[in-house]
């Protein structure tokens, strides 16, 4: 009686597995082995002979009981083969006439749209998200700058007319940082005077678009720019702003070092460095000064480190050092030398005021068959921060209980929504912190509970319309009673509540998710939105 499309089911399942993998950095070898084994069997049964053969061949490269951690990056090629061979026939059947370049862009892509016209912004968000491109909206320049630095979008779209700053001015301010990430900046304007267009190009905008946008053109245009950006970033190894290696490069070197250490029976150390109170620097002196601090810090390290050491920008204000043939103690000495030098480096604002910046560091040393080097260094770093910053901590077995955590709070009167969202998060197991999920059926019970602890981080998903106390009231309560930096709030709304959305963004929501949503997409957004709290 049941007529089920097994192939489709398999594709979905596989995609789920892969997105689970992608959310982690590393994966145990035995898990890969198990996956391939199952896939070989399944593919054989449902007639995907080639795939089955491929899996069989791949199995030889992985050992069955090994707990060795493999970086996901290194698995990408075979993951691609598997997904393609499952989905290829289907795609061919559905879209025979499509000659376009593949209509997908990297899952990670985010677009930041800075536009005061909330209705316009939400309609753009709607059409792009329909094509799977997440959009975050800022209604004014200030919020735009903040989101630009915290979310690190893959593309920025700026309206020239903003309530608080001039659009050109804003483009000017983000241009340097954007350039370092090859970020396309599109300027949109209701006016298309040629002077404006010239000016936009002069200050570094990638494109100039006139309102009203032609949507059928706009969507492929955005896709195109995103693919471009992705291709360029894929090809680069260094961070343009600081000259340090980028995260991708880090992953490569890290894998190399691990296998080298494994073969040569040598050791190496990983240092994670994080600038203290960096957000304050940005907030009080502005992002250009912040960028200057990052550059100076990097220059200092690049000058101090040995030639064989590798230096990377790990995320926003977080850096990493990979020190070959170095024990933890030697690493401490190097870091402390850097610390002393950096403490002597003054930064000036204008001609009079000057300030200093400190950093914290966490170190972990590689030992045989050890999998969690990064998360250990990260825990040590966290310990350093907790102990009062401006210090170096080496990871010891004893401080293992000190895991950071992210509390995800779901407030929605519909129990099905709560459960569906919560279940999605259960598959997210980040290496460097733990996830706790709490659910509340209404605003009152959430507000009255003692959910808040100052040391912890929170992601609140808030339903807009609820009985008793609605989402907007909860939102303004949280924003007025608690600090901003460790609480991220995203509203869950339905498409018709346009006025609520605007109201919510103005009252301090960081983002909104429109029902109906792709459950996986919610997780991806949350990962992106909470990233800044763990960098």
């Amino acid at each position: 009686m049941a007529r089920t499309d097994y192939k489709k089911l398999l594709a979905t399942r596989t995609e789920q597995d892969f997105s689970k993998w992608a959310s982690q950095q590393h994966i145990q070898e035995q898990e890969v082995y198990r996956f391939l084994h199952t896939m070989k069997g399944t593919a054989g049964t449902i007639g995907l002979r080639e795939l089955s053969d491929f899996c069989e061949a791949q199995l030889e490269h992985f050992s069955e009981g090994s707990e060795t951690l493999l970086p996901i990056e290194s698995l990408k090629p075979f993951m691609a083969v598997v997904s393609n061979s499952i989905t290829v026939d289907e795609a061919a059947a559905v879209e025979p006439a499509s000659h376009s370049v593949e209509n997908t862009v990297a899952k990670e892509s985010f677009i930041l749209l800075i536009d005061a016209d909330a209705e316009f912004a939400s309609s753009i968000k709607e059409s792009l998200e329909a094509k799977g491109i997440p959009v975050v909206i800022a209604l004014d320049g200030k919020k735009g700058m903040e989101l630009f630095y915290t979310l690190q979008p893959q593309m920025v779209i700026v309206d020239l007319q903003l309530p608080d700053v001039d659009g050109f001015n804003l483009v000017n301010r983000i241009y340097e940082a954007a350039k370092s990430r090859y970020l396309p900046i599109a300027v949109i304007s209701a006016e298309d005077r040629i002077e404006l267009q010239i000016r936009a190009m002069e200050i570094g905008a990638t494109d100039f678009l006139t309102k009203p946008l032609t949507l059928p053109l706009f969507v492929p245009y955005v896709m195109n720019r995103l693919r471009n950006q992705e291709a360029i970033v894929q090809g680069t190894l260094y961070d343009d702003l600081t000259g340090a290696g980028n995260r991708r490069y880090f992953n490569d070197v890290f894998v190399q070092m691990t296998s080298l250490a494994e073969r040569a029976k040598s050791t190496f150390s990983l240092v994670l460095l994080d600038l203290d109170h960096f957000k304050k620097v940005n907030d009080s002196y502005g992002h250009p000064v912040g960028d200057e601090v990052l550059r100076t810090f990097s220059k200092l390290i690049l000058n101090t480190k040995r030639d064989s050491d590798h230096f990377f920008r790990y995320g926003g204000e977080e850096f990493a050092l990979l020190l070959p043939d170095t024990k933890a103690q030697a690493a401490v000495e190097l870091v402390d030398r850097i610390r002393a030098d950096f403490a002597k480096t003054p930064f000036s604002v204008g001609s009079t005021e000057s300030f200093h910046v400190t950093f914290s560091a966490g170190i972990s040393e590689y030992r045989r068959k050890q999998e969690t080097l990064v998360s250990k260094a990260d825990q040590a770093l966290y310990q350093a921060k907790k102990n009062g910053r401006d210090q170096t901590i080496v990871y010891e077995l004893t401080n293992s209980e000190l895991r950071r955590q992210l509390n995800i709070i779901i407030v929605d009167d519909d129990s099905l929504v709560r459960k569906l969202v919560a279940k999605q998060f259960s598959s997210w197991k980040p290496a460097d912190f733990d996830i706790y999920i709490e659910e509340y059926a209404d605003g009152v019970s959430f507000v009255e509970s003692s959910w808040y602890k100052p040391d912890e981080n929170y992601m609140i998903l808030l339903d807009g319309v609820m009985p008793k106390m609605d989402g907007l009231e909860v939102l303004s309560h949280v924003r007025s009673e608690y600090p901003d930096e460790n609480i991220v709030i995203s509203m869950l709304t339905s498409r018709t509540d346009e006025s609520d959305v605007i109201h919510a963004l103005k009252s301090g929501a960081d983002d909104y998710i429109v029902k109906p949503f792709y459950a996986q997409e919610v997780v991806a957004r949350v990962q992106r939105l909470t990233k800044r709290m763990f960098n």
């Binding site: 089911l9 059928p216 459960k419 259960s426 459950a519």
Partner: protein, 350 residues
Amino acid sequence: MTINHIWMFSAFLFISQLVLLVILAFRKHRLSAKEQTISNQYESLTDSFSSYMMDPEDDRFIHEISGITHQTIVLERLLNGYVSITKGSITSPLVARLSEDFLTETYTKQLAHSNWAMRMNTLYFIEDFHMQSLIPQLKEKLRNTTRLDQETQQLIRTLASLNESDTLLELAQFPSAPVRLYQDVFKRLEEPVMFEQLGAVLDDKNHPTALREAAISYIGTAGLTRFLPQIEDELQSPVEEIRIQALKAISHLHYLSEPNLLTPFFHSSAWQERMFASQIAGRLQLSRFKEMLGELMGDSVWWVRYSSAEALVQFSDGDILLDHLSVNHPDRYARDMATQWKSSLLGSEE
């Protein structure tokens, strides 16, 4: 008839009312108890349901749902909730599997139920859960219908949502089928089938006018630029409604390959054609028609005057033109219209 009879009759009426009250109160009590049970069962199943929808290997849900008393209603609510919360659920194999495993039989019966509301709800749910397995039953039902009532209309929509391409032809059997319903069908068909059907309808001029109107209007609202050549052809159609729909669609598509195609419409005897022509001239910024728009500001129909003024406002020198017309136009109404629009660039919405 004595006073006693009247008393007795009244007492009888009163007592019957009381009996009715008791029956209704009892029914209400039972219904709300039932509703309570259903919502308890629903609440208790949300957890295993969500797990199952995430990872069907966790099949606790299948066991739990099999063992409850209000299986159909609870599953309906869960699936309906899932479908309305999550995107892409139309193609979810899990929704299809659950609904087909547990609801096919029940729904087959319900489609023939004597209660109209029950049949309607079933049709809605079949559409929501995308239950392909019921296509034969639905087609059978459609074959047995002769009237295009509310139920048949929903039946047509449900079949269309299951991507049944011959729904259009079935619908065309009803001479009174409204444009709106044809549009509903187009909206539900999935892409390759929808394109084929639209193409077929545009190519064959013998289809009912309502169907052709619906196709043209759908192309406009959905922004399907690929059909532009056919739409432009329809501007020559002998049927006025078709021409008007084609103009409307062009105004939506924001594109016209040859602006001169528009010229005859400014002199059309149908005011709607003049109105849409003005509207298009404004939207596509066709400066060659500026003069024509100025003339139409003095049209006898208010809507034409309004649209031509609105169109002029959209040109970069619109304010100058209107300023000029507000003084120099020979027609008094045109001068009034120009004055009202002159500085109202703000007032043009959307």
